[in-house]
Amino acid sequence: MATNPMHQFNVYRIGPEVKIAGIDISFTNSSLFMLLSAGAICIFLLLGTREKKLIPGKIQLVAEMFYNFIAKMISDTAGSKAKPYFPFIFSLFMFVLFCNMVGMFPYSFTVTSHIIVTLIMAMFIFVAVTIIGFIKHGFKYLKIFVPSGVPVLLLPLITVIEIISYLSRPVSLSVRLFANMMAGHTMLKVFGGFVISLGLLGGWLPLSFSVALTGLEILVAFLQAYVFAILTCIYLNDALNLHH
C-alpha cells in the first residue's frame, strides 16, 4: 500500500477524537500542517520585521519583497479601491504559498491538495466578493451579468453564460489549485515508485525525472499561489469597479 501514489493524501487523526454536536473535528495531520504553515509564515514575518533597518537584512528584504509584490498585484488588477483588502490577500497568498511549499518536503502533507480546503477558501472569496459587490453597488451589481455593447438578440444567451461563468468561479478557483497540487505530488510519487521498481539498473531515468519534477513542482507551488491570489484580485476588481 505504501507505493500507492494516493496514499500520501490520507488524512488521519492525531490525538484524541473531538466531536462537537456529533461532528468530528479532531486534530488531523492536515490540521498539523496547516498549523505548521501558518507558524512558518509567522516566524518568517517575525524575523522579517524584528529589526526595522533602513537597509534591510536578508529576511527583511524577502518579507518586504512579498509585501511589495502583493501590493503591486492588487493595485495593478483591482486599483486603489482594493487597498483595504490587502491584508486578506496577503494572508491568502502567504498561506497558499507556504502550504504548497511545506508540501514539497518529503513525508509531509499538502494541505492544498484537498478539495475541501481549497473549496472553502474559494467559496469564502466568492461569497465575500458577491457581498462586497452588492454593498458597493446595490442591485446595480447585477449588471455584471449584462455586458454593455452586446446586441439585444444575443443578450439572453450572453446573460446565461455570464451567470454560469460567475457561479463556476469558486469551482474553477478551488479545482485549479487542488488538481495542480494533487497531480504534481502524485506524479512525484509515481516516479519515485518507478525508481524503486526498476532498481539500480533502470531507476536512474525516473530518478532524473523526479529531480526535474521537483523543480517544476516548486515552480507550480509558487505559481498556483500567485494565480489564486491574482484571481481573487480580479474577482474583487469586478465587485469594486463595475465595468460592464
Binding site: 493524501f9 468530528d24 486534530f27 488531523t28 484537498h114
Partner: protein, 191 residues
C-alpha cells in the same frame, strides 16, 4: 494540458475505482471534511488577524520610513547639486573676470614698456649725438691747434736748418711767409 495527461494516466491505472474514496482519492472521503474545514477556518482566521493587525503595519511602516528617508535624501542631494552648480557658475565668472583683467594688465604694461623703451632710446640717442658733436668739435680744435703748432715747429726747424747750412741768419718774417705759403699749398694733403 498537463493535468489532463495526468488525470487520464490515473484513469488508466485506477480507473476502476477512482471515485470510490476508500481506494482512489482520499480527498473525496467526507470523514474529515468537517475537521479540515474547522481547522482551516480557525488557523486562517488567526493568521489573518496576526498579519493584518501586527505584521502588515510593521512592514508598511518600515517601507514608509525608508521611502521618506530616500525622498529626503534625494531632496537634499538636489539642493546640494543646485548649490554646487551655483558655486561653479560663480567660479567660472570669476575666472572670466580674472582673465579679462590679466589681459588688460598685459596690454597696459606692454604699452608702458614700449613708451619707456622709446623714451630711453631717444635720450640715449640724444646723448650719443651730443657726445659725437663734442668729440667732433674737440677734433676740429685739435686740428686747428696742431696746424699752428706744426707751422711754428716748421718755422723753427727751417730757420735752424738754414742757419746750420748757410751760417746766415735769415729774416724770420720771410721764413714765416714762405712756410705758410708752402703749408697752405700742401697741408690739404695731410688733413
Amino acid at each position: 494540458m498537463r493535468i489532463f495527461v495526468i488525470t487520464s494516466f490515473f484513469f488508466m491505472i485506477f480507473g476502476k475505482n477512482l471515485l470510490a474514496a476508500e481506494a482512489g482519492m482520499p480527498q473525496l472521503d467526507p470523514k474529515y471534511w468537517a475537521s479540515q474545514a474547522f481547522w482551516l477556518v480557525l488557523i486562517f482566521t488567526l493568521l489573518y488577524l496576526s498579519i493584518s493587525k501586527f505584521f502588515v503595519p510593521k512592514i508598511r511602516n518600515s517601507i514608509d520610513v525608508r521611502n521618506s528617508k530616500i525622498k529626503d535624501d534625494l531632496d537634499e542631494a538636489k539642493n546640494l547639486k543646485d548649490m554646487s552648480e551655483k558655486k561653479l557658475k560663480e567660479y567660472e565668472s570669476l575666472i572670466v573676470n580674472a582673465k579679462r583683467e590679466v589681459q588688460k594688465i598685459y596690454t597696459d604694461s606692454k604699452k608702458k614698456l614700449n613708451n619707456d623703451i622709446q623714451n630711453k632710446k631717444k635720450s640715449v640717442e640724444k646723448e650719443i649725438d651730443d657726445a659725437v658733436e663734442k668729440a667732433q668739435s674737440e677734433i676740429n680744435n685739435l686740428k686747428k691747434n696742431s696746424i699752428d703748432d706744426i707751422l711754428k715747429i716748421s718755422e723753427k726747424m727751417t730757420a735752424t736748418v738754414i742757419e746750420e747750412i748757410s751760417g746766415d741768419k735769415l729774416n724770420e718774417s720771410s721764413i714765416k711767409a714762405t712756410i705758410s705759403e708752402v703749408s697752405k699749398k700742401k697741408i690739404s694733403n695731410y688733413l
